[in-house]
């Protein structure tokens, strides 16, 4: 046995396990995407068992490609994920910089900041859609009706009443409607994931080299220039981590979409796959392969963009 054989032999089980773990589901999905496979069919009972004799070629892919719902789902996936990433990075960066300063009670504030991350996605969605965003019973409804009532009462007041009569009556927004349901999802996931970004940015800010900053002070850099030329490039790598991990997680958003509006107006790829999988496994698998391709494009594109723009 040469020197390398034994280590390789010892690695083999782990490598094999990982390969099987990854390759088996992927190959099954690929296989299903090329055959006709449905869960229930009265006319064609032979399609209910997966078999190579039901070969459909690219038929499933063409079926999905020509489906209007598919393109809407891709649009929603990209819209929701991009918005969440942009918002969490901006908010996370701002919060991390604020919290990085020392102030009394910093420890407690930091713990509280992280806490949204511990809430289950489904619970998060229920809380937001019912208690905060509900147009009647949620905070939104209460706030809107409160403001309306206030301006209503003030209209009869002397001297300043005319000013309040200029106010329009506000109508609460229904976040379960198809125009707004995606925005509701974006809000709740942003709330939940900003702490993740804060956590990563904060640790990274603490590792910033202080002498570099002092050198920059002597070089005449102002606060903004130091942020732009030292802190932001320093954060480029953690930023790409935040973006990549979030892209992976949010491309598979499901619970929030189910709870907010059952896919009405915010149906993304995983939700579409879920709907298809109630019967047409072949089409669902084809959509799944499209989703894998989309995820790869997304990750590569975003990472390139970040490293190029920040690293100079």
């Amino acid at each position: 046995m040469s020197k390398r054989t034994l280590p390789r032999l010892l690695q083999t089980p782990a490598v094999l396990l990982l390969l099987v773990w990854m390759l088996v589901p992927l190959s099954i999905t690929l296989y299903f995407s090329f055959i006709r496979y449905v869960l229930a069919s009265l006319n064609r009972p032979e399609w209910t068992t997966p078999s190579i004799t039901n070969w459909r070629g690219l038929g499933n892919y063409i079926f999905v490609w020509n489906n209007d719902g598919f393109w809407l789902a891709i649009y929603n996936s990209v819209f929701i994920v991009t918005s969440i990433i942009v918002l969490t990075v901006v908010l996370g960066l701002a919060t991390a910089i604020l919290v990085n300063r020392s102030f009394p009670g910093r420890g407690i504030v930091r713990v509280l900041l992280i806490s949204p991350f511990f809430v289950m996605p489904a619970v998060n969605a229920v809380l937001w859609i019912n208690m905060i965003l509900d147009p009647v019973l949620g905070l939104q409804g209460i706030a809107v009706s409160g403001i309306n009532e206030f301006s209503e009462n003030m209209r009869s007041a002397p001297l300043i009443g005319w000013f309040f009569s200029l106010w329009p009556e506000l109508t609460p927004i229904s976040f379960r409607a198809s125009q707004t349901s995606a925005i509701a999802v974006i809000m709740m996931v942003t709330w939940q994931w900003t702490p993740f970004a804060v956590l990563i940015f904060m640790t990274s800010l603490q590792s910033e080299d202080q002498q570099q900053k002092e050198a920059a002070i002597l070089d005449g850099a102002g606060k903004w220039a130091m942020f732009r030329f030292l802190t932001l490039p320093h954060l480029a790598r953690p930023m790409s981590i935040v973006v990549m991990i979030q892209a992976i997680f949010h491309l598979s958003l499901y619970a929030e979409i189910e709870i907010v509006s059952r896919g009405n107006g915010n149906k993304n790829l995983p939700y579409l796959i879920g709907e298809m999988a109630t019967n047409n496994i072949g089409a669902a698998s084809a959509t799944g392969i499209f989703a894998v391709i989309l995820a790869n494009i997304f990750a590569i594109f975003l990472l390139r963009m970040i490293s190029k723009s920040l690293m100079e």
Partner: protein, 335 residues
């Protein structure tokens, strides 16, 4: 231009006073070295001059102007840091250009100045590399380049060579001295290494726990140290300091003899001792001699080809003309 004056400057961190009231004049064009053991406040002093730390009281005056309240970038000083503090995401070119870019200089003029600086520092081949791809010595050059382009009133060096290996250190030492001779700009250089201080300085400031112990040219400090601290700190190997009976014979509380001012003989002499370790450097031999009158072995600088056996009996004789006498407070006095 570039004279710097410290007037009754003090610095405290909380309740601890790091620098008690301190006065210092630095003439235009001088190469001044702050030297002292670690924790003596030399770096703090440099940072006070740079403006990176605020003085607790007192004034910092540059070219006759009180700059105590002036922001660091407006003081017209450039600093080279121990860790180089290069901007890791920028190329060498951008690093050097950064201070000029911050001052809003015309890009054509920036290019010209960067080219001039990089030529004088032999950095032309590395302009498009990032600091991470450079060796320690090259990084140091970039840091110096970033300081030169600004054309500052004075350069501040904070232990710039301590991260380099011994051979490079000697080379860079020469280069910095050469740079000073050519440009004639005031330079303040902080180090804990007395060899750097002796070889580079026009004027050495020896510091201990925030106090200035002595200010003078290298040879002044070497030939007439004003107290035992300076005597022990300046010179390599260290001056031999003896107190007690051996010193009383010479009418002093403590006497100091430099290793080169002791003659060694195996026949007769003033002090009888036993040879310890001999260090052969080729040009010189440093012989450590154990002697009853001193708790530590005495160091003697002898000829390079002197061979002495470990444990042999020898006699040492100090050169009376070069003997330093100190009183009970450690201050030097002459008979």
């Amino acid at each position: 231009m570039g004279s710097i004056k410290l007037k009754n400057v003090t610095k405290s961190f909380g309740d601890t006073e790091v620098i008690p009231p301190l006065n210092l004049d630095i003439e235009e064009g001088e190469f001044v070295v702050f030297v002292g053991p670690s924790g003596c406040g030399k770096s703090t002093l440099l940072r006070l001059i740079a403006g990176l730390e605020n003085t607790t009281s007192g004034e910092v005056i540059i070219d006759g102007e009180d700059v105590t309240e002036v922001t660091p970038s407006k003081r017209g000083l450039a600093m080279v840091f121990q860790t180089y503090a290069l901007y890791p995401h920028m190329t060498v070119r951008k690093n050097i250009a950064f201070p000029l870019r911050m001052s809003g200089m015309d890009p054509a003029e920036i290019d010209k100045r960067v080219a001039a600086a990089s030529t004088s520092l032999n950095l032309n081949d590395y302009l498009d590399r990032k600091p991470g791809q450079l060796s320690g010595g090259q990084r140091q050059r970039v840091a110096i380049g970033r300081a030169i382009v600004r054309d500052p009133l004075a350069f501040l060096f904070d232990e710039p060579l301590s991260n380099l290996d011994a051979a490079l250190r000697v080379g860079m030492r020469l280069e910095i001295s050469e740079m000073h001779k050519q440009m004639g700009t005031t330079m303040i250089y902080v180090t804990h290494d007395q060899v750097e201080a002796m070889t580079m300085a026009d004027k050495i400031v020896v510091l201990q726990s925030g106090r200035i112990e002595q200010v003078g040219s290298p040879l002044e400090l070497y030939n007439s140290p004003c107290n035992t601290f300076v005597a022990g700190f300046i010179g390599s190997p260290k001056m031999n300091l003896l107190s007690g009976k051996a010193a009383e014979k010479y009418n002093a509380h403590t006497i100091g003899v430099r290793p080169e001012h002791l003659s060694i003989s195996d026949v007769k002499g003033d002090w009888e001792g036993v040879v310890g370790v001999s260090e052969h450097l080729g040009s010189d031999t440093f012989v450590h001699v154990h002697f009853d009158g001193s708790s530590e072995p005495l160091t003697v600088r002898a000829d390079g080809d002197l061979e002495l056996e470990y444990g042999a009996k020898v006699y040492l004789t100090p050169d009376l003309k070069k003997l330093h006498r100190f009183d009970e407070n450690g201050r030097a006095f002459k008979l």
